[in-house]
Symmetry: T
Subunit: 165 residues, 12 copies
């Protein structure tokens, strides 16, 4: 139920892109936003529920993922706003549209957490690389931003992978 406290709002934030570029770029940013908010939530979920001999290492590394995901999601959402597309980072949207698999409830072992994050980061990165291609023409500014995000997520992915190496 949408809260009745909000009246119809006819504000118009215009961006500096053409209409087609705005549509393509806005869709890319919205998809990334969904994945990044979810990544911050599942990394916290695992941060709290992980157990096993590597508890401390994994517990700390997951908080680095949370910090990165939160910072990037803010940058991505504000980029969407800056090009005139209102971002959507609500729980219901994230629950439905994120590319990340559903994380189980309850205690989880450190081994499983590590493998699972390698897999989920791979999925998020794959979608991001598509969006890098799509935004190259539409908006190099957004593309540059997404490239920076992939760089960090691939580094995190390597570190999880090395941990299980």
């Amino acid at each position: 139920m949408i809260s009745h406290l909000f009246e119809e709002d006819d504000v118009e934030i215009t961006g500096t892109l053409g209409e087609g570029e705005q549509r393509i770029t806005g869709a890319a940013l919205q998809a990334v936003l969904t994945d990044l908010v979810d990544l911050s939530l599942v990394a916290k979920q695992a941060h709290w529920n992980v157990t096993g001999p590597r508890f401390r290492s994994v517990h700390l590394q997951l908080d680095e993922v949370v910090t990165a995901a939160r910072d990037f999601s803010d940058t991505v959402a504000e980029r969407a706003a800056a090009i005139g597309v209102p971002p959507d980072g609500r729980a219901v949207t994230v629950a439905e549209e994120s590319v990340i698999a559903e994380h189980p409830v309850g205690w989880v072992s450190d081994d499983d957490v590590i493998s699972w994050f390698v897999a989920q980061l791979s999925a998020v990165i794959a979608r991001l690389r598509q969006q890098i291609d799509e935004t190259e023409k539409a908006d190099p500014v957004t593309q540059d931003l997404l490239i920076g995000i992939v760089a960090e997520l691939e580094k995190q992915r390597w570190m999880f992978q090395a941990e299980n190496g």
Copy 2:
């Protein structure tokens, strides 16, 4: 779909409470966690989508709500773990069980945002005050923690209310 990467995990984290106290306290903490994670998400949503002559003030104040909600949700979830109850802060759980109303999609006016947050903070606080009563006997440590959260949320609620005063 729960990821198949996770094997059955028979870890047992025990707390220091009796069984009944653990059940009551765990339920209270889980409810608070849901509301706080949602609060952090809708405050960011409004932070990105607000418009109007008070944009900057509201934009900045909402980030203080985000910071408080994130810090408290971490404390609450780790308290649940500390008493032996695995916390659940996933998007799907938040989307279904939060006491906060659904935030609309798209640009929203500063007036509406302020009124809406007064209402939602009132709802979160009301549930928290119930949980303060329920945990008094079950676990004064948890109760003390929840009292500190209410103090901050009631301060934030006053500031939004004064803004529309």
Copy 3:
């Protein structure tokens, strides 16, 4: 003379407490506020006027009292506002209603300052302990806040007492 620049203001800040709880809690907070603002003023007064072989020690310790009293008075006043009760920390109110005795004018010896602050802190603490009892039912959030203030003031009182031990 109340300044004529202020028009009648019919703002209504509502709190989350019931009417009786709000009245009891508001009265307690207002009394504490008066004492804390006065404490910050007399501690500065002594900070400037103290003389004697322990000048430096007392001069510095009094500034710690000032800092504590200022921080607590801000917390207490904002708590009053948060429950819908407008706080009053004006000089005239403080001069009339503080539980602290009148500090003399002019240079004062370090011995006298120390004894005097032990006595005044005792008076402030005594009133605070009553308010802790009164707010237990009315508002545990406020009670928790007052408990924290007593802890610090009793520590300061011990240090003055030990200085004269």
Copy 4:
């Protein structure tokens, strides 16, 4: 009632000024001290009780006034002590001798707060400018200090005025 804990104190702090210069300078500093302590109290009073669409801006700006007034009052009082004149910053003195009008009790609107502070700052500045003239001969060190205070208060006054411009 003056506390009986203080014995007659025959300490003599001597300054480096002649008697006449000391009397003139001491009177000027005492008057400024009264106004500055009161300014810090009324700015906090408004900081807690202001309401309206500019709540956040005014709330924050008033805390800058509080910080400035507290810092300056400390400098002024210690300057009085340095020239051998014991300063008086007690609530009762402030309530009786400050040039600032009485601030009303209860919630106040942001518009009124802003107009009121322009007026009160004007009064404080006017008295300070007289004291700058009076201390020119008597003590250029004190004069220099007062000039620095006026510079800051006139800047604060402009900012309130521009806010209502």
Copy 5:
């Protein structure tokens, strides 16, 4: 009148680009430099002269524009030097060649300031996007730098626009 203190200087700073690339890139950087220096000057101008109920918000936001414009202008000018092209950021050059309209003299209202900056930022961004196209082949290092500048300016533009939304 060029100061006679400077003798003919036959220094040669060589860059690492080919001659054509150097010419194209140098011209792009010089144009951006002009706009950024002017942006820092007009943002300060408005920072000092703005009035109205949003004075404080606009006053502070403009200083963020100043900081960004100053940092970027330094980066851009040193990039020009690094490729062997001497940058020109003098008042006379800025006054003649900036794409930004002339800012009026005297007090300006917050509404006007906000609208005006949306318009001027749009103009600066438009020229920057052309330069991003032109430098893509000539020097990807410079292009990458310009992309980062556009990202920040479009964010500032959105915030002004949302303020008037």
Copy 6:
């Protein structure tokens, strides 16, 4: 042998509690102090002597226990002084009255260290929870302080348990 350098000292530090409350609270605080000082010593002992594949993780986590135990012991001892009861944190007292088992001499494996600290923290927490009950009536200020200590120790206990999960 008590050093003969100390003369009979007839200082009297009085607290603000009644005699019965003072006795109960003082005993509780003394017991907690003993356990906390010992906890800081055994955590350092293990910090220096631990070996095994989790050396670094355990080495670092134990230092967090040391820091917490030291800070809490200072707070607890100063609280005892503040209520007029002289605290005793000497090695001989700790060696005799701590609830913590005797730590072995020599190198210890990381597995053993982790299990041992879960057990000892459980014992310390159990005694603390009794003291929370006992001080509820006697002194809510002390009770509040002990509640905060339990919260942190139960968090540390969970982290050791999860490590072995």
Copy 7:
């Protein structure tokens, strides 16, 4: 072309000076502002274009001039606003009215830069000393501010002179 986005603005910021004092002081501050903004621009210009064996020393020292000139120009402009005179720091005004000679375009040798800045600082200081005389009666607050600026500029001038000594 003055932007048409600005409507006629009939705001009136009043200062606390009499009319004659305001006029004299406002004119002095406007002249200083012009010179200081220009100083910040030419110091950056030289910072970017200087070459020679003392490149690094001069490059760094010029940035200290930039920082000082920017800070002072902000103080001066806000002082003008505080006395009710709108400051003008636009490129076109600076280009026309600054006392500083025109800086050449292109690379400049370190020797020439140093000599040139000694000469320009001398010119700026000479005008400032006149303004110190003129504002002595009109506004001692402004005079005090200008004295502080001269102190710093004469220090910078000495350091350039010593460099060529």
Copy 8:
């Protein structure tokens, strides 16, 4: 002699690139790594052995080169790991494959050091620009990283060149 302590290791770190892209990108990163590690070593070598009237300036500037080269080499090596290619930054590899000429042993004059670094930075930059071209298709993430490195090295090169200008 490879240490016999290392057993055959059949770990496999996979990246997210296709095989061809991985090969091209890995080779580019390895070449850059070699040059950057060498740059950090020769800059330290000169930092220690430089003499002459510009000793201090050159000594300090070389440490900035060291810091940049060390930070970049870490980023580059971790990028290689992130795409599944093990980086090689050992002394023997650097000695054999770096593009930088051999630095002489013994004291060196500041003039020679400056000219030599302009030449060596030119060589490193030239190879980096080739790698920027080669990675454009293979991996835009790596390309973006290399662009940032060139920007900094060209700035350093300009500063050395201006020093000899």
Copy 9:
């Protein structure tokens, strides 16, 4: 009772010293460790229980002793581990083997505290100077470390002595 949770541990940490040197050095370090841990405990004991007109000065100075003793004990214990000798810093060991006299229970006067610490520091220093002689041949690394500790303790001893001078 040694906790049964610890299994027999046959780890062997080897140092780099010969057997005789290791034995001599290990014994020296163990003795120092005992004294330093005790010093940290008795300094805290006095920090909490001191009374008298110099309370504040002594209270603060003792905390500097605590900080030094804690830092040195960590360095000494880790040095023991580094040479292959497991350190023992448990309460029972400290209570039995420290060279420091038993501190009395209860409030102590500032005069007595100061005299007592001069005496105890003298004893600790005397033993340390013996160990400096003994380790000169056995391990100059350990000797150097002990020399640094004596330097600080002799400084603390002087300051207590001067206080009673």
Copy 10:
């Protein structure tokens, strides 16, 4: 014996004052410099040699005098250089021309130190107040600087006096 390493140096640093003003101002600054350097030396001397029950308080307060005297002496000497007068702060000059009495060798009691510094600060302040008069016409920039020094020294003098009050 003046070192023969210095050749005749015919450098000419010119100031911006007229000849007469330069002579008067230079003499004033040189006298102040002598006193301030000596003040920093005797305050250190007493800092090291003081004994007595107030050792710690006096030891710390003297270091504040040292810090102030060092900072002021640097400002004063650089001001002299800025007006073209080479400052002289050598031991031999200080030993001969300082207004401060000769400090005795050996341990000194805290009481004597305090009285002595009140007397010496009075002497330094008296000479400074003369120089404030003398520089009023000659150079208001220097006068303003001296006024700030007196303000701090009179504050230090009060604190010593209050200590003995």
Copy 11:
């Protein structure tokens, strides 16, 4: 090939040691420098290539080795320069003369890394202990510096050893 950019340099930096002492000390320092630079390179190499369940712990610990090795190598090289011996820290020298074994190329397991570093640190320490003996007579300043390096390296060695304990 030695770069032809360097001309014959006949600078002579003289030290303060006799010729024999200089030769012995210089040789010792050069050997240590070689080992420390190599240690920093192989620690980075392992930092990037390590894999296995202890990846994160080892990855972080190795960076502490890198930091220590870099700081020590700078100190050692500048000590060589200070005694008049030009240090040599080039890749080719390191590759040929370091006492550290050749590190393999490619991914390495955490177990192997840990064992390998215990062995290599043992070798470096052994050579350092010889140099401590050799420099005792020749230069106690250098000896003291080497003692400090051994202290840190033996601590690192213990931590690796404990990790595999």
Copy 12:
């Protein structure tokens, strides 16, 4: 004239050394103190009076000498006090007993300053090396301290020498 304010003081600070050791060590420390205080004064003297193309480099480097000399002089003087020997750092003592030559009055060229400091540092170091020999037996704690001072001064000496290389 020794101030009559000081009464005969019969305080006795005892050290922990034997009488002969105390005498030797005290004399060594007093000599070093004299040189270090003088070094701090002449380095400031040159810092203010240096001229020439290397003004900025030398001006900054001399301040590093000042900082080192001041810190070391404090350590040396407090070491003397710690062994029971009152230190003497007064201007008259420094002027008479320092090993440093008399610095000329007036502007000095950068070349001369650099050569002069190489010579003076050589003299100070030579005396320090003698004292290192003399204190080896008498007090290894003092010897260790002097070794650290020589290390830093020889580094400073090298840097001046390299500057003139």
